[in-house]
């Protein structure tokens, strides 16, 4: 991690801790530092611009209400925030499904390779590691895992999008995750 990104991470963490003390200015700082990333998360999973904005608004309300439960020992600030956004977007997506199923296009699971981890809040070393571990997987396994993570798809949705039985997809993902775990522990 570069000193610049390390200092950004520290700034974000201290702002988030101040949000827990109901510091509205700190919330604006957190928003300024993270809203593009969290909007990206909501938009990718919701696939609907208006819904993504509504979900994002609720995400920052949750951040305001729950910042007290952020534990820097367990997660980085950006990972904690992204997890809230991803869960909220998945909840929205699944709540829509019964009325109006959303299309799942796995062409959209492409990962943004242009993001510059040095300029971002990323954990640069780990980024390289998990992405290179994903590349080691059989392509179908990696695609299925990415569809779950980046699009918030469930097993049946991934199975439908890949035109395979749910059992097959489940086995791909489980084996892929096991390989991922082995790869990450090997390189640590």
């Amino acid at each position: 991690m570069t000193p610049a990104s390390e200092s950004r991470r520290a700034d974000l963490q201290s702002a988030l801790i101040r949000v827990a003390q109901q510091d509205r200015e700190a919330l604006r700082t957190v928003y300024a530092m993270t809203s593009a990333k969290l909007h990206g998360v909501c938009l990718r999973i919701c696939t609907d611009r208006g819904a993504a904005e509504d979900v994002l608004q609720n995400v920052y309300l949750k951040v305001w209400q729950r910042a007290g439960s952020f534990d820097p020992a367990k997660a980085s600030a950006i990972a904690w925030l992204c997890a809230i956004a991803r869960n909220a977007a998945i909840d929205w997506r699944r709540s829509q499904r019964y009325e109006d199923p959303l299309p799942a296009d796995l062409g959209e699971t492409l990962v943004d390779e242009t993001a510059d981890p040095a300029a971002d809040l990323a954990q640069a070393g780990e980024r390289a590691q998990i992405f290179s571990c994903l590349e080691e997987l059989e392509p179908v396994r990696a695609t299925a895992i990415k569809a779950g993570f980046y699009q918030g798809l469930s097993y049946p949705e991934i199975a439908e999008a890949m035109d395979k039985p749910v059992g097959t997809v489940k086995s791909w993902i489980r084996r892929g995750l096991m390989q991922l775990k082995e790869c990450l522990s090997r390189e640590q």
Binding site: S69, A79, R94, G148, L177, M178
Partner: protein, 240 residues
């Protein structure tokens, strides 16, 4: 079993962390998080390992007015906390919407308060200006709902627990004030109403900034000064 198959429990932890589970499968995995600290740690471990993948989401700037909408929504919630003050007169349509939202939030909290029987008062009647605060605690466990009601005239908190799954662990209630440090309030019954006498030193924390959280702890609490397990339900106190 092939060489790269994963043990069922590890697979379940990974699937929960990845968000693949739905419905009954998700509910049963969440119950396992509550009942089994080892499984909970495994889920946390997977979340931490997958976290660097967040880098793969592209940045997309949100519309410029969104922070203002968030500010308004927070103000509306704050207004709902201050029920003794009159609603601001609707100056514009936007303001009116916020006031309506606040009023409905107040109504919801009042309804919650009415669920409770009035406190038994064998002694002198409670003072007129008794402060009452209520909170509703929810979390990822489907159906788990806690409602809490604190009455300053008795310094007691009544906590009703509904939908608690069967676990080896015990429900423990904490209050997290503005400093972010949880203070233990006590162990709850798994169902029905638990009456907790709030120690004098903790009464100052009963305010709208504080959050009540529930953790599922081993029968012998490892550390009475801090939770050892993840939060499974939470909610903010509101004065009524």
């Amino acid at each position: 079993m092939s060489s790269d198959a994963m043990p069922e429990r590890s697979a379940l932890a990974a699937e929960l962390a990845l968000g693949l589970l739905e419905g009954a499968d998700r509910a049963s995995a969440l119950r396992l998080v509550l009942s089994d600290p080892g499984f909970a740690a495994e889920v946390d471990g997977w979340r931490a390992q997958l976290a660097p993948l967040y880098d793969g989401f592209a940045d997309v700037a949100p519309p410029s007015g969104l922070m203002a909408r968030i500010d308004q929504a927070i103000d509306a919630e704050a207004a709902a906390d201050q029920v003794t003050t009159l609603m601001p007169a609707p100056r514009a349509q936007g303001r009116w919407k916020i006031a309506t939202f606040a009023a409905s939030a107040v109504a919801a909290m009042l309804a919650l308060a009415l669920v409770w029987p009035s406190p038994q008062s064998p002694g002198p009647a409670p003072q007129d200006k008794a402060d009452v605060a209520v909170a509703q605690l929810t979390g990822p466990i489907d159906g788990l709902l806690l409602t809490a009601r604190y009455d300053s005239s008795t310094s007691e908190m009544l906590v009703r627990v509904e939908g608690m799954p069967v676990t080896e662990t015990e429900p423990e209630l904490w209050i997290v004030p503005a400093d972010g440090q949880p203070r233990r309030l006590g162990r709850l019954l798994r169902g029905g109403v638990t009456r907790i006498a709030i120690p004098e030193g903790h009464r100052k924390f009963i305010d709208p900034v504080s959050e009540l959280i529930l953790t599922m702890e081993p029968k012998v609490l490892p550390d009475p000064d801090k939770p050892s397990a993840p939060t499974v339900a939470q909610g903010r106190l509101q004065r009524i």
